[in-house]
Symmetry: C2
Subunit: 247 residues, 2 copies
Amino acid sequence: MNRTLTLNYRVEPFSEDHTGRLRWGILGNWLLRTASLHAAAHGFGYDDMIRTGHAWVLSRLVVEMERMPRTGEAFSLSTWVPSFYRQFTDRLFSLTAPDGTPLGHARSIWALIDTTTRRPLNLDTLADGGFSAALEPRDVPIAPAGRFRIDAAQPERTLTAGYCDLDINGHVNSVRYIEMALDALGSDRYDTQRPQRIEAAYAAEARMGDAFRLYRQDFSADESAVEIRRADDERSLFKALVRFAPL
Amino acid sequence: MNRTLTLNYRVEPFSEDHTGRLRWGILGNWLLRTASLHAAAHGFGYDDMIRTGHAWVLSRLVVEMERMPRTGEAFSLSTWVPSFYRQFTDRLFSLTAPDGTPLGHARSIWALIDTTTRRPLNLDTLADGGFSAALEPRDVPIAPAGRFRIDAAQPERTLTAGYCDLDINGHVNSVRYIEMALDALGSDRYDTQRPQRIEAAYAAEARMGDAFRLYRQDFSADESAVEIRRADDERSLFKALVRFAPL
């Protein structure tokens, strides 16, 4: 079986941002969708894992878009798993225009957890679970996630996680965190800048009704970060580092 | 040409709510997408209208779902335009399971505005614009939007419209208003209830950075309403009446 899954997408009406380019939230959902279909095709999808009391949890996501496609533009989205190690699996993505021009790339890190203990498993012990057969050792030309710290003492804004933010597990879904972070980085800047690279780190799960504090830190005119903490215990749930490019 | 456009959809991973059923936000986007493709097929789509300095603006949307499909379920979504009158066009929708069982219906009212004056046009004067040829006088079995008033004096919550809330015109997109309203109707209720009917009324356009006040009113244990007003001038932007059914 082909170890890389490639699906075709098209930017359609109502999926664009105010500049007429694909919204990050929709791109994020398409990345996760493609990942899910690839995993299912190789026998370690959501359903396969749930049956054995396991679930994939997104730990890191880095997306870098050289160009975000516009309304009507088609592109192909490919995903493959280059490696797994101990408690984590790497999953890579590439987005390509019909003429072969790269639009962008993404790298993600996933943990397989036990759905009862919520603890991660050692994937080496599951190596016969079909993972090794699916490995495609090919990299993408974007830097891995780096380290960054947010020292802001005052929250930029507060939010309450709502019904429409949830995923099927009842947790705030991975893509909504990214949207919350982008929204917290101001308004006017989006008239002249676009997010070009987003590093997202998922630390803990949140549920409907949880109150969030969003802390913002600007490292430069084109690099900002957001940390989302749960209000009641200040526990860090999510961090994002966003690099902007001129529109 | 067929006056009804029918497209097939499937509930996929990452498109479900915490009960495993299609998220309202994604259903909303699919309704608008299907409407847009139908209009384009009949020569009065977004591009056709923009070329003549016009744009469709959603004024009312009523969606009633007897059953919200689950992960993996396929359904067909049909849309047609039964009538237009003066400044408004009706557009209806029906959602049907593969076995022919109706899943739900929707009715919407659209105005065609002049993109420079932002004022609505009299559609009778555009009757030769291909509208009449596309009319399909067939109704759906759900009640039209009713009237309701929200007297709440204290906002349930406040929000700031962000980058990820925008549509291609730079306004907060129609579906996000509905998500904001559903999120403002509490958390615990969604463990036992699901939105079964949503009436949405769009009054004015909002932009990125606008501060919103969300006013909530409960009419009964299974009927609540939300009004979203712009904080600076208390102008009413959006109202929704939501009827809940047991899960």
